[in-house]
């Protein structure tokens, strides 16, 4: 009896911990269905959104990002990039005004990202997994 209660407590704690550190499926990086890219690693996604890569395997990419406050954007910053919104903003300020990179286009909603990706063959964006449609290709999912 005591063992069963202990196992239940451990399971509850594990579930809570895993969801709190973002192991649940809630983030997907997508591209146009015609894009030649088939997958990206977490490191690739991080490099793209830190302005370090304009192309992957010699395929030119054009990323878009979501506004602060969006769940997928917060997931990206917290779990992939490892920066707080303020640090991310400061990082991009340095990058843009030193001329090292052009700013990433910011869209207001996941629907806008979906629409944009469908109209841009080299577009890369991210959304919540629940928003994925068959009109886009998933390159990375967590």
């Amino acid at each position: 009896m005591t063992n069963k209660i202990t196992i239940k407590i451990i399971l509850i704690l594990l579930t809570t911990t895993l969801s709190s550190i973002g192991m649940s499926n809630e983030f997907a990086v997508i591209t146009n269905i015609d894009n030649k890219l088939d997958s990206l690693s977490a490191k690739d996604v991080r490099s793209i959104y830190l302005g370090r890569k304009n192309s992957i395997n010699s395929i030119v990419i054009k990323p878009v990002q979501l506004v602060n406050g969006n769940a997928a954007h917060e997931f990206l910053l917290q779990n992939i990039i490892g920066k707080k919104p303020k640090q991310y903003k400061a990082y991009w300020t340095r990058l843009i005004f030193s001329g090292k990179s052009a700013p990433i286009t910011t869209l207001k909603s996941e629907q806008e990202v979906l629409n944009w990706i469908q109209n841009n063959s080299n577009g890369i964006g991210y959304i919540s997994t629940s928003a994925i449609t068959d009109k886009v290709k998933v390159l990375y999912q967590q």
């Binding site: 919104p85 005004f97 030193s98």
Partner: protein
């Protein structure tokens, strides 16, 4: 572009539209009306085409901006970091107040045009200049060629030195970053030339090598045939180490030095002409959790022009507490050792940054400047060996 569209041939138009148009035209004035019709069609097509080109251009172009409004005051009548009518003194100064516009245009998938226009308060009025502008060509996933007027890649803060929002202080540590002729001369605004930038990410390390060649125009001189490189290694974007070395040849600019006495100007010209100008700069930056740390050291050499030889360093940091960041730094600068123009100066700074909005910061700052030899960054030797400086700024990026 519009003119080329006027070469459209009638046989390329849809057949029924062409026939309908033909029947509507009086046969007697056929040629005249055709000319009018052709002109209107060309005008319309040119307008539509130009609108499409403009829309496409707008889609490929981004505009960003920044501004810093600064007020600083000391308790000394001799101006600091600028001549008496420009620098900061007891009557207060808005020196450093500036506005900038940054324009990025993606010409093609691998070619980008980037530029920044900067308007800053120089004396009683603002002067506007092209801060930098270059063409960037992405040669491969890790290699980029840039040519034009490029921001000087020496010093951790220098490439974004005009953007107050990007660093903790009201102004970057002046005993390292001042561009005044009596300053350390370690770093510059921008150079005209070209650079090759190589970046590579291996595990948690990001390495970049920037090799540059060009010339820079400074106060009272020009450094030409300048060759240099900057190597940067960053670990997890948290700790970075950056080192630079450059070497060029000095060429005194007599027109810029017109304010000097003739004898002094002649002596300076003779002692600088053709001498090398080199600097070694090394620095580190750490951004771990809420802690931000900086440290930089520069060694400057100007060959036989001993007045220009010097060292400079600073160390400082800040700590994020929600929207606030208390910060502090200590700076040192020594120049012209064993010459008549020997200068030695220290500066300690404490301040508070408050991020009012995600893109707006207010800073309050106090500095104490100790001059133990010469004039340092003061216009001439100050009356007090210890000078207090107070400042407030408002920094915005958009």
């Amino acid at each position: 572009m519009g003119a080329s569209l006027c070469r459209l041939d009638s046989h390329k138009w849809p057949k029924h539209s062409y026939a309908d148009l033909m029947t509507q035209i009086n046969t007697g004035d056929k040629m005249k009306n055709l000319a009018k019709l052709g002109f209107l069609m060309c005008l319309s097509l040119a307008t539509i085409h130009n609108t499409l080109v403009a829309a496409e251009w707008a889609d490929r172009t981004t505009i960003s901006g920044f501004s810093s409004a600064i007020y600083q005051q000391t308790d000394e009548h001799v101006a600091f970091d600028g001549e008496n009518h420009i620098g900061v003194a007891q009557h207060g100064s808005f020196k450093g107040t500036r506005f900038g516009i940054n324009i990025n245009s993606q010409i093609s998938d691998r070619v980008r045009l980037a530029s920044q226009i900067l308007s800053s308060k120089e004396n009683s009025d603002f002067s506007t200049k092209l801060d930098w502008a270059f063409i960037s060509v992405s040669l491969s996933d890790s290699l980029t060629l840039r040519t034009g007027k490029v921001k000087y890649p020496v010093g951790i803060l220098n490439e974004y030195v005009a953007v107050g929002y990007a660093y903790p202080w009201i102004a970057p540590p002046s005993l390292m970053y001042s561009l005044q002729s009596n300053g350390p001369q370690a770093t510059r605004e921008a150079y005209t030339g070209a650079n090759l930038l190589w970046t590579r990410e291996i595990n948690d390390f990001l390495t970049s090598v920037d090799i540059f060649y060009g010339e820079v125009q400074l106060n009272m001189m020009r450094v030409h045939s300048m060759t240099g490189s900057t190597i940067k290694i960053s670990w997890q974007d948290r700790i970075s180490l950056q080192t630079s070395y450059y070497r060029g040849s000095m060429d005194p600019d007599i027109e810029e030095a017109h304010g000097m006495e003739e004898n002094a100007m002649t002596m300076m010209t003779q002692s600088m002409e053709g001498e090398p100008h080199s600097a070694f700069v090394i620095g580190t930056k750490a951004e771990i959790s809420d802690v931000l740390l900086f440290a930089e050291y520069a060694d400057i050499d100007m060959g036989e022009f001993k007045t220009g030889k010097g060292t400079s360093w600073y160390t400082g940091g800040g700590y994020h507490i929600n929207d606030f960041m208390p910060y502090g730094s200590v700076e040192f600068y020594e120049k012209g050792k064993n010459t008549m123009n020997y200068s030695k100066q220290y500066k300690a700074t404490a301040g508070l940054r408050y991020d009012v909005l995600p893109n707006t910061a207010v800073k309050f700052e106090y500095s104490r400047i100790h001059t133990s030899a010469g004039s340092g960054l003061f216009d001439h030797a100050p009356e007090k060996s210890d000078v207090n400086m107070y400042g407030v700024s408002l920094d915005v990026v958009f």
